[in-house]
Symmetry: C2
C-alpha cells in the first residue's frame, strides 16, 4: 500500500492541526490549510499537501511568521497595499480580496499590492474568487529565480505565473499557467525516478540544453516561446516584485528550506468591473466566444479539468502517499 484515502475535511483538519502545532495562529492555519486543500482537490499537488512539511518547518524556524496579522493601507480610491508581515500569503490575500472587490465596484477598477509575502499557491484561486463576485481579475506574483533571460545562462526570473479570471455563468473562465515549459516539479520527479528529461525543458549550468535532471535542477528552466516567454516572465517580475516593492526573484530565499531570511515575495491583484467597462456587453460576448469554441472540434475553454478534479475529490476523497500522510500526522501530534 503506497497511499491512503482521506476525505477533504479530514485532510483539512489534519493540515490545520499540523500548522497550529508548529506555531501557526488558529485563523491563519485555517486559511493556509484551506488554500492547500483547495489546490490538492484540484489536482495541483505541487501547491497542496506536499507543502505542509516545509510550511511547518518554516514556521518553527521563524522564517514564516505563523502569527503575522496582515495590515491594509489605503493608498488611493483604487489602490491598497497589504503588508503580509512575513507571514503566509493566504491571510494577506484573504484580507485584500473584499477590499479590492468593494473598490472595483465603486471605482470600476482596483489593485492591491501585497509585500513581505511568501508562496501564494495556485494563482488562479484569487482570480476565481473575484470572478465569482462578477469581477475580471489578474494575479501577478514572483517566485525565487528559476529561468534565464533570453540569451543568458544565469537564472534571474521566476516561473512567474500568468493568472486571469473572468466571470462566467456556471464557473468562471480561469487561465493560469507558469511561463516555464513545464513545472519544476516534473524535473524533480524525473530525478527521483532516475530518469532523463526531454530536450526543451531545461538548460544546464553551462546554459546549454540538457536531458539530465540533476543538471537541469542546477541550471535553469526553459520559458515557453523562447524570447517571448522570457519577456512574459520579466513582465510578471515587474508587476509583482517591482510593483509590490518586494524582493526580486534573485534575492528571494527558498520556499522550501526552513533556514535563511524570509523570501519577501510580492503579489499584485487587479480587479475590473467588466460589465460596467463593457457597457453591459461582457457576459453576452463571452457566451458568444464560448459558443464558437464549443462549435469547433477539439477546442475548449481552459480550466475545466480543475472542476472535474474537485468534484472527484469531493466524491471519492484524496489519495495521499503514506510517507506524506505519516509526516503530516506526526507534525499534527
Amino acid at each position: 500500500m503506497d497511499s491512503i484515502t482521506m476525505s477533504i475535511d479530514e485532510a483539512l483538519a489534519l493540515c490545520q492541526k499540523a500548522l497550529v502545532a508548529s506555531g501557526t495562529e488558529e485563523k491563519n492555519a485555517q486559511l493556509v490549510a484551506g488554500a492547500l486543500l483547495r489546490a490538492e482537490a484540484e489536482g495541483q499537488k505541487g501547491h497542496g499537501l506536499s507543502r505542509v512539511p516545509s510550511y511547518c518547518a518554516q514556521v518553527r524556524t521563524g522564517k514564516v511568521n505563523g502569527r503575522a496579522v496582515p495590515v491594509v493601507e489605503d493608498i488611493k480610491p483604487g489602490l491598497v497595499r497589504v503588508d503580509a508581515g512575513f507571514g503566509f500569503a493566504y491571510p494577506a490575500i484573504e484580507l485584500a480580496l473584499p477590499e479590492l472587490a468593494a473598490r472595483a465596484k465603486t471605482v470600476g477598477i482596483a489593485a492591491a499590492a501585497i509585500y513581505h509575502s511568501h508562496h501564494f499557491g495556485v494563482a488562479g484561486h484569487p482570480c476565481e474568487d473575484l470572478a465569482q463576485k462578477d469581477l475580471l481579475a489578474f494575479v501577478y506574483g514572483n517566485t525565487p529565480s528559476a529561468l534565464a533571460p533570453a540569451g543568458a545562462k544565469k537564472k534571474v526570473l521566476g516561473t512567474n505565473p500568468i493568472a486571469f479570471g473572468a466571470p462566467q455563468a456556471g464557473a468562471p473562465l480561469i487561465i493560469d499557467f507558469a511561463v516555464s515549459t513545464v513545472a519544476r516539479g516534473k524535473i524533480m520527479a524525473a530525478k527521483q525516478a532516475g530518469k532523463n528529461i526531454p530536450e526543451g525543458w531545461a538548460l544546464g549550468p553551462n546554459g546549454k540544453p540538457t536531458t539530465d535532471a540533476d543538471e537541469a535542477l542546477r541550471g535553469s528552466m526553459v520559458p515557453i516561446g523562447g524570447v517571448k516567454g522570457a519577456a512574459l516572465a520579466l513582465l510578471v517580475e515587474v508587476m509583482s516584485a517591482c510593483l509590490a516593492g518586494a524582493a526580486l526573484g534573485v534575492e528571494a530565499s527558498s520556499l522550501f528550506d526552513p533556514d535563511g531570511a524570509p523570501p519577501n515575495l510580492g503579489q499584485v491583484i487587479l480587479a475590473i468591473d467588466a460589465e460596467a467597462l463593457s457597457g453591459g456587453h461582457f457576459s453576452p460576448r463571452l457566451v458568444d466566444l464560448a459558443a464558437v469554441y464549443n462549435s469547433i472540434e477539439g477546442a475548449r475553454f481552459p480550466g475545466l479539468k480543475r472542476l472535474q478534479n474537485r468534484r472527484k475529490a469531493e466524491e471519492d476523497g484524496l489519495s495521499v502517499p503514506i510517507a506524506l500522510a505519516g509526516e503530516i500526522m506526526k507534525l499534527a501530534t
Copy 2:
C-alpha cells in the same frame, strides 16, 4: 534602384496627404500618419507605410469612416468607454490616453475600452506614451482570427498582442509581442518569394503542420508554447473583444480588403500609478532589476532595438520600396 530614401517628415507629409485625398479629415489624417511613421521609423514595417494603400482604399469605400469623431463616455471614476465611430483607431486612442492618465493619477488605476475600432498598429505605442507620463500600462486589442485554439483546426483567435510598458529613466521598458510564433507577414513574404517556411510556424487547413506558405496562409498560425500561447491569445480576446463589447476575431472583417462591413475591433488600455501602488519602491526596484540584467552576459531588457531603429531613421531617413512610394505618391495627388 529598388528603394528611395525619404526623411521621416517627408514621408509623414506624403502619408497625410494621401489619407486626406482619400477622404480622411485633416486632424485624423495627421494622427494616423503619425502612428504609421512612428512604426515605420522603429522598423515595424507591417504597421508602417505598407498600410497606407489599404487604409486609403478603406476610407474611399467607407469601410473606415475617415471623418469619425471619437466620443468619450464616463462610466465610473476609473473607467471610460470610447466609441471610435468606425473610424481609425488612432484618434480614439489619442482621446483615451489623457483621460486615462488623469484618472490613473487621481484614482490610482484606470481603464479605457475602445469599440467600433480598427487596426491599432504597434500595441507598445500607447504603453510607451503612458509610461512617459509615469504610468504603468497594458494594451489589449484583438485582430481578425489567425490562430487555432489548442487541439483544434479552425482559426478563432487573433495574433492578439501582449503589450506592456513601465516608466523607466531614459526610455520606458516596453514588452510587446504577438502570441503567434512569427508574424503573419513573414509567411506572406515567403509566399511572395516562392519559398517554404520552417516547420512550427503554421498549420495547413487540415490542422497539420505545414512548410508550404500558401497552405499556411489558408490554415492557421501556431501560437508560442502550444496550449499556453493559445490560452494567452484567448486572454487577450476576452480582454479586448468581450471587455470592449466589440467584434470577436471570427466576426471581424479584413483589415486589408476595402470591401465589407467595418471590422469593429476592440482595444482596452489599463494605466496604473506604479509609484503610488508600490509605496515609492517601483522605480528603485526596476533599477535594481535592470542592474541584474546588465550584470549577466547575454541578457538585456527588451525593446531597445526600437530606439536604435528610431534614432537611425531620424539620422539617415527611411528606405521605402519604390513600388510603395510610388503608390502613396499617386494616392497623394
